[in-house]
Symmetry: C2
Subunit: 557 residues, 2 copies
Amino acid sequence: MVTKGNALSIFALGGVNEIGKNMYVLQYEDDIIVIDCGSKFPDESLLGIDLIIPDISYLLENSDKVRAIIVTHGHEDHIGGIPYILKQMNVPIYGTRLTLGLIEIKLKEHGLLRNTELNPIDPELNFTLGSIGLSFFRINHSIPDCVGIVFDTPEGIVVHTGDFKFDLTPVNEQHPDLYRLAEIGHKGVLALLSESTNAERPGFTPSERIVGAHIEDAFTKAKQKIFISTFASNVHRLQQVIEASIKTHRKVALLGRSMVNVVSIAIELGYLHAPEGMIIDVNEVNKYAPHEIVVLCTGSQGEPMAALSRLASSNHRQLEILAGDTVILAATAIPGNERNVSRIVDNLFQLKANVIYGSGSVTGMHVSGHASQEEMKLMLAFMKPKYFIPIHGEFRMLHQHRLLAETMGVDKDNIFIVNNGDVVDIHNQEARQTRKVSNGNTLVDGLGIGDVGTIVLRDRKLLSEDGILIVVITLNKMDGKIISGPDVISRGFVYVRESERLIDEVNAITLKAINQLQENKITQWSIYKQTIKESVGNYLYTNTKRRPIILPIIIEV
Amino acid sequence: MVTKGNALSIFALGGVNEIGKNMYVLQYEDDIIVIDCGSKFPDESLLGIDLIIPDISYLLENSDKVRAIIVTHGHEDHIGGIPYILKQMNVPIYGTRLTLGLIEIKLKEHGLLRNTELNPIDPELNFTLGSIGLSFFRINHSIPDCVGIVFDTPEGIVVHTGDFKFDLTPVNEQHPDLYRLAEIGHKGVLALLSESTNAERPGFTPSERIVGAHIEDAFTKAKQKIFISTFASNVHRLQQVIEASIKTHRKVALLGRSMVNVVSIAIELGYLHAPEGMIIDVNEVNKYAPHEIVVLCTGSQGEPMAALSRLASSNHRQLEILAGDTVILAATAIPGNERNVSRIVDNLFQLKANVIYGSGSVTGMHVSGHASQEEMKLMLAFMKPKYFIPIHGEFRMLHQHRLLAETMGVDKDNIFIVNNGDVVDIHNQEARQTRKVSNGNTLVDGLGIGDVGTIVLRDRKLLSEDGILIVVITLNKMDGKIISGPDVISRGFVYVRESERLIDEVNAITLKAINQLQENKITQWSIYKQTIKESVGNYLYTNTKRRPIILPIIIEV
């Protein structure tokens, strides 16, 4: 499908017109490089689905050409699909040390660690994959060790920003390398792929450091135990929690599997620093006075099974929130999670805790990890790309990012707003977008990858709304006489024991339908089933205004 | 249950610790007055449920004492439950003219209009119900004709604010009657029930009039058709749309059933003013030039079936949004609706429309209808109540409202944060809260009111996640031999045609289980069913990590 000849092709298999499941592809002749391999959570219409990953049919068809997956950073929407993709094809993974550390946890869980080639990226060093040279630049985000990627192709330089913000006072001293960015742009950039998450937000995203000041302030005021919840992967914020704990002479206990995982790997790899004895086991909490304790926990998004939710409903095995304790939600609710988070805040107030919550600007307990408009313009000013492809965002974000690029002097005709699968081909410095590769959502449900399709989902939707009503009837093979039934069984429709009259009527309607069909000498079971479905369905809708799935089962003996 | 003697009792049957289904009750001896009768929408856990209304067991048990339902205003969370309650008991309804007009639409739909006594409230007049005197005060909100209620009981004055804000420059010239409020407070208020929706918001909610200025500004700049979407019940905003249309020489077409309903009733009753010929039929739109048209439509919350959603997906029978048209979302997304609204904005940008959207402060196209903290304090300053019961809000809002009341000098011990059903009894000016009346959510599903319970909902939940697998087997009554089956049927679990091996294995497991039970001379079908459920369930979970409902059906012939 990809045109032959010396064309450079760029496309997304996930990440545009959506938030999540990022996967971008760069191909020059027989060399394919994949950037990121994320997952996303299903919305409420995909009932029972655990996870969505990109459809990688194109990569499977061209698996001999796929040189590597380069991972920009360790967030789920960039690494969550890796285990599922590796089950379908083996390909070397490249990432910085922390990113690989987080990927390793996943691979271990899936029993894939042994057979996967993991290559650490040193942002200072270059290397080559086939005909494509790769180098990197450090950039800030809400997780350490993020990189943007510079692809040196025979057609020219292509830059992928990864997720980024410009934090000029970063917590971990990983400063954005402005000189390097300027140098890349100075050499000339053929195409820039830049992330668009906050393209609707004016201004410049505040530094993570302001959160640290607010945390310290809250810790100083707290008289009893402190519970603080944030994204486990936000190692900078964890560092600031530890620093505020040192200053206020408190020990830190960790709660929640991902918090324990990330902290241990971040400390091990040197991205998180805590004095010896600072971090204590949850079981030791009661050995200390309340004012000597900070509990750092997961669940800032209101996840019902996570630590904070259990604590808020006084339902945690080991710890309890008491009146006068301080609870800090150091994260904003991701769209869709607002109600769950609000429920937790309600519960915390009912426990008479001091709750510090609400959007970042009110409490100062959260800043975004993504560039706002002025930073996006700064990136465009450094890169001065000939072609611009906004990525990583829903359409309105890509659209706003395009408007920014236009104000920065990028030629209107050189900006490509693409869908997943749309290929931008660049040949002799000229780009055009005319063709598409296969793409889509692959649904993960339990152990099944891609086996749940529209029919199963449609049935789940119908079942979820009005349940199912099963009519079983046994007929004599010889004369068609009813031997047993009709028996009516129902799940999720009505409580059968309280609906005797309705069930009796369903029986009567079924019998009548069968008698009529037999009188008319009809023998095909499919017609029997269809007739029962329709007559029972109509009766139920008229009398209940509900439409359960009607499932007639006819047995011949 | 209610104590005898001269006690005044106040309680909520809906509306506290939740947003929606407002219903408050005031009882003095044998006189019960109900305030509002709202509904709310189910959250995602209540699968298939259409609506939630208050459980009115208490009112049914005391139906001879219920004198009236007094309705403060015409929003769904205050009137939505009326038809369902009237199906259970007949009681006179009192409301202002517009409120009754909106209730009439509902009663017509439910065929209840004839048998219901509807009594108009004139806010200037008093009347008496049993031992309780009633008077009213006008107050501002995002719908016209709102009232607060003053109950003159033998124990003292009780005030219920209704939903309110203080709009000192209201669009409809229905100014809040500050003198009346001051006078009520001056006489002495025993207890105040005040709404808490925006208790988390500092400051003073801006006047509806600022939205009008922004609408006019946007209308002036628009070069083609304008589509503007807002809550149909926000008649003030509709008025401002009409005024901006007059100024910019545009005609207004209405789209969406509730928009047509509300506009017609509001014009008829004199709450909305439009010059003759200003409002045109949708079919006439194409007779005008694009710059002469405003389309006022429903769907600002992203409702998939509403006008705006259809327009945004180019799926409307009569009208089309073209590149360069202006689309204004003059409403903020209610929590839970953000994703649907965003999807519409994405689609509108794809149509190359100019979209004006986003939170109120950014575009100025929305202000809240509820009091912020300073207005809540103003209400408390007017009323100076002895007892304070914050109502209409989730716990954190009630909690913040309590803190405001404390700063306004209400005695800490005189503030009651109640749950639905908690009764505050006031006797000889002393209030205490010790008892509870029955209360809860009554679920409406189709024609059923309250017939869907936890078992049905639990089954819907299970069905929605992993579907159902039915195993049918026919046994000989005499010797227990298998005559037919096992036959496996599934809905919402896997697509059976693509899962032959799995189904074969289910068959084999079922046969093995039956053989074993028969060898052990077990004859109870319940044990057969349980064994099949467990062995098939375990097999499926191990091999798919899914847990469908397993439904064994054993037929004896």
